[in-house]
Symmetry: C2
Subunit: 583 residues, 2 copies
């Protein structure tokens, strides 16, 4: 007898308890005819992920608990497994709650709490210790949550050893470039390792700096992919799993993820306790067989990153209830890519551009901004800053008692532009999207309250070379042909804040800079290791020092979408006051 | 035979491994003649606290380890106990390392890792499991680190049960108003509870948002205060402890700090293992008896908060190597108090003020700014913003195609001022201190990139009423008489951004607002609880919604000094995207 599983990859909003409940209600109603044995929602689907310090607010926990009970009461005939926080005494758990006959039939408490990178689960939750196997009739199911299966051994191992043949893992696993392959390798590995069918359900949607990419997966014990959820959108997987099938022998690769943080797993295992929970028989009417699900195309690396940015932007705008956005178009590649992403995310009518030429803006930049806006069909206002710059020069010369303003005058231009964008935003209520890339913000090649002014930083985690790569990919992939003008792509990078200025006057060439940045930020390489690999010692020293010295700027940067293995923001937490300068 | 203990309350800088080592070197050298049996430095004194993600940088850990070894080699004749990170395999510990004869004689690994509020220790460290008792001759000493003694039971209990009669706790315990009494009650309680002398050593100094206030304490088993370190400055306690004394029976109060997060202490205790470490005899020459230490005055509440702000400001400026600061003086109370704190922290020569009158600035505000600058002896530049506002009006009217700018024009005034301050900062290299208080920033009554523009927010954690209170305290305490003009104190609070504007046009009266804010932010009270206490329901609803809706502004605010039990920043971590609105 097969188990009919419905894995619902939803996009909840953090804190929107009523809205999230309605999302789930609608999904369960829609599936009624298919008669699933178990409908599964992702980790913390009730609250959205991550709810952060809302979890310390008792009223919020009570209301989340009521939402779970409401879902149970609305669907007494359906078995629902849903992720929600559960408060027991003074202990809070990250739980997967099984609902049946209008109430809570079982609660699994997450045992393995991630507390690194963007994760702070030990701030909020106590770890569970029990590894239950749920029996429905002939089926034996082990439920776990996200990190539980990333650890070698631990919860899934104990569940399989105690008879589980189907493992269900509900997750909220944020996107990072390349992570999808890692995740597929992991899920397949665990399925083979424990001789089970493993259904991995991921949440989807943008939340502040994070994008959850969906892409749920089901592998059987022979390492065959049974089903896969779509990436970057809501989806549902409905499939019949045959518990009785004997897995073909499949060779097991090496354990894929022995990471330092999991070294102590033997000790965790000592604490975990197996438990068998009998939930009665599966009594149900005959039902029609499901059609086979056709395999999905996997996006290329560039497409994947691009879609993450589109979803992250769309959800930040939508979930924060903005009607429209505004972007300062310089004619350069960064603002061009940002505008295209925004247009793809929201539709061109909700995207407004302002181009603000100054004394050092080239004709070709202005032409590039105009061409881009026309190609996208977004509105463009031209607001020259010359008069304001003259007025500032007078005031600032008086203030500083000097005529030679140098960099100060460059920053003033950027800040005038920031102020005009914010004036538009104040008046219209739209969100300002900033356009800075990761290379700039890493070394502080950007102006606080100037080009950094705005509510959401779409490409802040994209190194400059990736900005070019995605622009070329989008130009080729469409919609539209060469939406970003070739001139913009070909232009020598420049902030155009002083005569003849080029980024390369101040920074190493981007192919060099981006490699040094990745080495320092994503891999924490010491400087001499780079020098040993052939980088110029003085360049490395300078770039490393710039990274440290611009932490204060990044602390005031708007949030933006994490796409790398280590983004600025909640992911990389460096002190501002920091005198460490490694040799 | 007594044990001569030297507790050195130092002010290290995060990341400054060489500088911190030099601080400790100098202290050990200075103490040589007193012949201490053990010289003790605080938690993570080698790296500064908290080093945050520097702890994930392998090279940093190696360099910190070298600094420890350097300290050991420099003082082979002295027993030194010092806080430092220790990497063993892939596991990192927050350790107290005993140095003797040029090398590491013993390592204690912190067992209880705080991971709430401003603390993220589980992000970095593994917990230790051993509770060693160190024997020097007839003395039996239990070493622990900070949080270890805040937990009822746990490490100090096990050490006392295994013969320790002297407990030494090295800490990095940040300041919050009222915490000093709590700390004294705790240390005294543990000393009596375990029948030991308990020496509690705290670090001192400012680090980004935190101020460590020193105030080290030694209590004996009878609950008598043997010694106390100064508050908000470096200090050393040198005292002889008699291990042989029998404690007088002293009544024990109730356990002072049974907090939810410690409910699981029985389980922690199961994991902890006692251990006896014999470190040989205490062979030493005769030495002169120490003079009795005179008791210190404890500052009042107002003085304590004020000194925290002074130290936090001084250390942010000094440790980030700024030579001077600049403040926009409006003639209002917030900027006045900020300027006085800065002047007390840095001396008036390093403090520069700019007053930027606009069309709605009153004569009395301008007079107030002038009087304050004269009273403090700080430089004052007057830079009217009228011309710039006219220029902006023209550009923005053209941009928005409307004459009625409303709030947009208010924000423009604030941003012009922000730009002028930043221009001064860009040119001179000085740090802009912002002047916003907690009441404003809680409800978003402030302008991003305007009055929020700057590098450090001195009074961001002070509710408006506390701003008044500290201003009055400082006026009375001196130096100087009524430094802040009476007119400034008496003025009706106003941003002066539109004709006749008063804060009370937009906000509830501050005595009401501040209570609601404290209830929501510090105590997480639901709105109906406030209504039950007599607050107007509509006011409560509005204030609660403002707090949630201005999270995006706070995310871009500069760091500032935490003085409350819950500050914005690393302490209170709410999502920006958050649709939760409690009933």
């Amino acid at each position: 007898m097969t188990l009919r599983l419905a894995l619902i990859q939803i996009n909840p909003t953090v804190g929107d308890l009523a809205g999230n409940q309605e999302l789930m209600d609608a999904a369960v109603r829609k599936l009624r005819d298919a008669q699933p044995d178990l409908v599964v929602f992702p980790e913390l689907a009730v609250t959205g992920y991550p709810p952060e310090d809302l979890l310390g607010y008792r009223r919020f926990l009570d209301d989340a608990s009521s939402a779970v009970d409401g879902l149970a009461r609305a669907h007494p005939e359906t078995r629902i497994l849903v992720g929600a926080p559960v408060l027991e005494g003074d202990r809070l758990y990250n739980a997967a709650i099984l609902l049946h006959r209008g109430s809570r039939a079982h609660t699994y408490r997450k045992c393995t709490l991630p507390n690194y990178g963007v994760f702070d689960e030990k701030r909020y939750f106590e770890p569970g210790r029990r590894c239950p196997v749920l029996r429905f009739g002939e089926h034996a199911i082990g439920v776990s949550i996200c990190e539980d299966i990333w650890v070698p051994g631990g919860v899934p191992k104990i569940q399989a050893e105690n008879g589980a043949t189907i493992l269900i893992n509900i997750s909220a696993s944020p996107y990072a470039a390349g992570k999808v392959e890692e995740r597929a390798r992991l899920v397949r590995h665990r399925a083979i390792e424990h001789g089970v069918t493993l259904a991995y359900l991921n949440i989807v949607g943008g939340q502040d700096e994070l994008v959850f990419d969906g892409g749920s997966l089901v592998y059987d014990a022979a390492g065959r992919l049974l089903a896969r959820g779509r990436r970057f959108c809501e989806d549902a997987i409905l499939l019949d799993i045959d518990s009785g099938s004997v897995p073909a022998e499949t060779a097991l690769d090496e354990e894929p993820f022995v990471q330092p943080r999991y070294e102590g797993i033997e000790e965790i295992e000592d604490e975990l306790r197996p438990e068998i929970v009998d939930l009665g028989s599966l009594d149900r009417a005959d039902r029609v067989a499901l059609e086979a699900r056709s395999p999905l195309e996997e996006p290329s690396y560039d497409e994947e990153v691009y879609r993450a940015l589109v979803l992250g932007t769309r959800d930040y705008v939508r979930k924060n209830q903005f009607r429209e956005v505004v972007i300062g178009l310089s004619g350069g590649i960064d603002s061009a890519l940002t505008a295209v992403i925004a247009s793809d995310a929201l539709g061109p009518k909700k995207v407004h551009a302002i181009t603000m030429p100054g004394p050092y803006t080239s004709e070709s930049s202005l032409a590039g901004a105009r061409a881009l806006a026309a190609n996208l069909g977004i509105s463009l206002i031209e607001a020259p800053i010359h008069d304001l710059l003259v007025a500032y020069r007078e005031s600032v010369v008086r203030l500083l008692q000097t005529e030679s303003l140098g960099v100060t005058e460059e920053n003033i231009q950027a800040r005038i532009r920031g102020n005009l964008l914010m004036a538009w935003s104040n008046y219209h209520g739209g969100l300002v999207l900033t356009t800075g890339n990761k290379s700039e913000v890493s070394v502080g090649y950007c102006t606080l309250y100037g080009d950094m002014a705005g509510g959401f930083a779409v490409i802040k985690d994209l190194p400059k070379l990736l900005v070019y790569r995605l622009a070329r990919w989008r130009n080729a992939a469409g919609p539209g042909t060469d939406v970003i003008p070739e001139d913009t792509l070909a232009r020598v990078p420049s902030a155009e804040l002083s005569p003849g200025q080029k980024d390369s006057d101040s920074l190493p060439p981007y192919p060099i800079l981006d490699q040094i940045l990745e080495a320092r930020i994503e891999h924490e390489e010491p400087p001499d290791a780079l020098v040993a690999r052939g980088f110029d010692a003085e360049t490395v020293r300078k770039v490393y020092a710039w990274i440290d010295r611009s932490e204060y700027k990044r602390r005031q940067a708007p949030p933006g979408i994490k796409i790398s293995t280590r983004a600025f923001g909640k992911d990389r937490r460096y002190p501002i006051t920091n005198r460490y300068r490694p040799a």
